[in-house]
Amino acid sequence: MIEILQYGFMVNALAAASLAAIACGIIGVYVVVKRIVFISGGISHASFGGIGLGYFLGIDPVLCVIPFSIASALSIGEVSRRTKVSEDSAIGIIWTMGMAIGIMFISLTPGYAPDLFSYLFGNILTVPRSDLWIMLLLDIAIIAVVYLLYKEFLAITFDEEFATVIGIPAHKLYLVLLCLIALTVVVLIRVVGVILVIALLTIPAAVSRRFTDDLRKMMVLSIFFAALFSITGLYMSYALDLPSGSTIVLVSGIVFSLLELFRHVRRNPPLSAI
């Protein structure tokens, strides 16, 4: 494993995996405990519109995704509150609108879009250094906001209505949380792509829930699991020449399934064992 570090792209890939693990480890815990997986799926798919816009304008798509994913997060958070559209319909509409806008921009851009596939499904081996800096800054922003609002986020994720009653601006903070999900999507795009983002937002947090009842410990554990899954997946994809994004997701899914299976077997011993 050491000798592959002599390749510059491998060092970048490991850095990208670690930075992604920090963002999805922290924010994934909120996604899982507040059960907003579908909302997060909507935000991540809709942000494909930003990638298309980046191609069209000729600027770094990752940078272009930031305003786009924030806008989709805020629209998902507001639409169902201000109109009579149910939340899941609103998510479905924004989800597909964003993707359609992305495709539209790409088809309007002259020439061929060579690394389009890597934005959809991730390619951790081609992360440029400039994107690592963006990821680092976003990680710092996410950690700072969660550190400052930890108590308030805990109150609104556990019981939003009670939080409102005792004077917490619950809806505004919920929108802040959705924006953090949007930023996490941006951090994860290079690693697993917009389509597979939701795997890293749910699996590490769901696995860590098995080991602790404490939200803080869950965050630390899920950063660890996300890093473990990403680096294992990265190594396997390098060694076996497989696409990195889907290898990382499959490694995560397999570990999750094995843990669930093991837990099930342990809790319900076969009759012969009693």
């Binding site: 405990v33 108590k151 009670f162 009653v165």
Partner: protein
């Protein structure tokens, strides 16, 4: 009229032009222990949500401690239906009760005073030995106590309980009402329930709600009120002890 805690005057609430509450007027005073009964879908939860400023009436006026409910609802200790929670949520009893202080401690760390108030609230409901338990590891009755402690931690002037007897076995219910008797000394209490027998022994006044509110400021309810509330003849059972709830019939 300084001891008015909650005041509703001619309140109407419509959902999609369908009336849910019709011309409801009620005043809760400082030492009231009020039970509101009515069938499911009769607007009980809506009434609570109006008091909490979570639902705006289409007509009428709502006052909490003489002011706007959105501003003064932090003085209301709200105990929602416990069945609405995700009991797998990774949070322990102490942290649940501390969230009762989160409105006072907004955008700052919890102080020693916040922690002390949470501690006292847990002690009040006899749940101190369980403070490190995850919320899902408790029984229904214990969880109910924790949610009351969370409401108490905020230092409320009135406690609003939505269907508190649901999911609690009979023995726990007696203990639960004894706890409310204790709390009654310090604050007004409003209980909402579809189960008339569960609350009638303990409360001081009863109101019947089925879109319209039937309320005489006393514990007596007439067969006519019940008929109007439940839309069908209701068999009345007088408990006799410790108070007579129903008139001779």
């Amino acid at each position: 009229m300084n001891d008015e805690v909650i005041n509703l005057r001619n309140v109407w609430v419509h959902y999609d032009s369908m009336p849910v509450l019709e011309d409801v007027s009620i005043t809760v005073y400082q030492h009231d222990f009020l039970g509101i009964i009515g069938p499911n879908g009769g607007g009980k939860s809506t009434l609570l949500r109006v008091m909490l400023g979570l639902v705006k009436p289409s007509r009428g006026e709502v006052r909490v401690l003489g002011g706007d409910p959105e501003h003064n609802r932090r003085y209301i200790g709200y105990v929602p239906q416990y069945s609405l929670f995700d009991i797998n949520f990774p949070i322990n009893v102490r942290d649940v009760v501390l969230t009762g202080r989160a409105g006072h401690a907004l955008f700052r760390r919890y102080t020693d005073q916040d922690k002390e108030l949470a501690y006292n609230a847990l002690k009040m409901v006899d749940m101190l030995p369980f403070e490190n338990r995850q919320i899902g590891e408790l029984s229904g009755g214990q969880r109910q106590r924790v949610f009351i402690a969370r409401a108490l931690a905020a230092g409320p002037k009135v406690l609003l309980l939505d269907e508190p007897a649901a999911g609690i076995d009979a023995r726990m219910q007696t203990e639960f009402y004894e706890l409310l008797e204790k709390l009654k000394e310090k604050m007004a209490i409003v209980i909402v329930s579809h189960d008339i027998t569960a609350i009638s022994i303990y409360v001081d006044t009863i109101a019947c709600l089925n879109r319209k509110l039937f309320y005489h400021g006393s514990k007596e309810i007439t067969p006519e009120d019940l008929m109007a509330t439940y839309q069908c003849p209701v068999e009345l059972i007088a408990h006799g002890v410790p108070h007579r709830v129903l008139r001779e019939h």
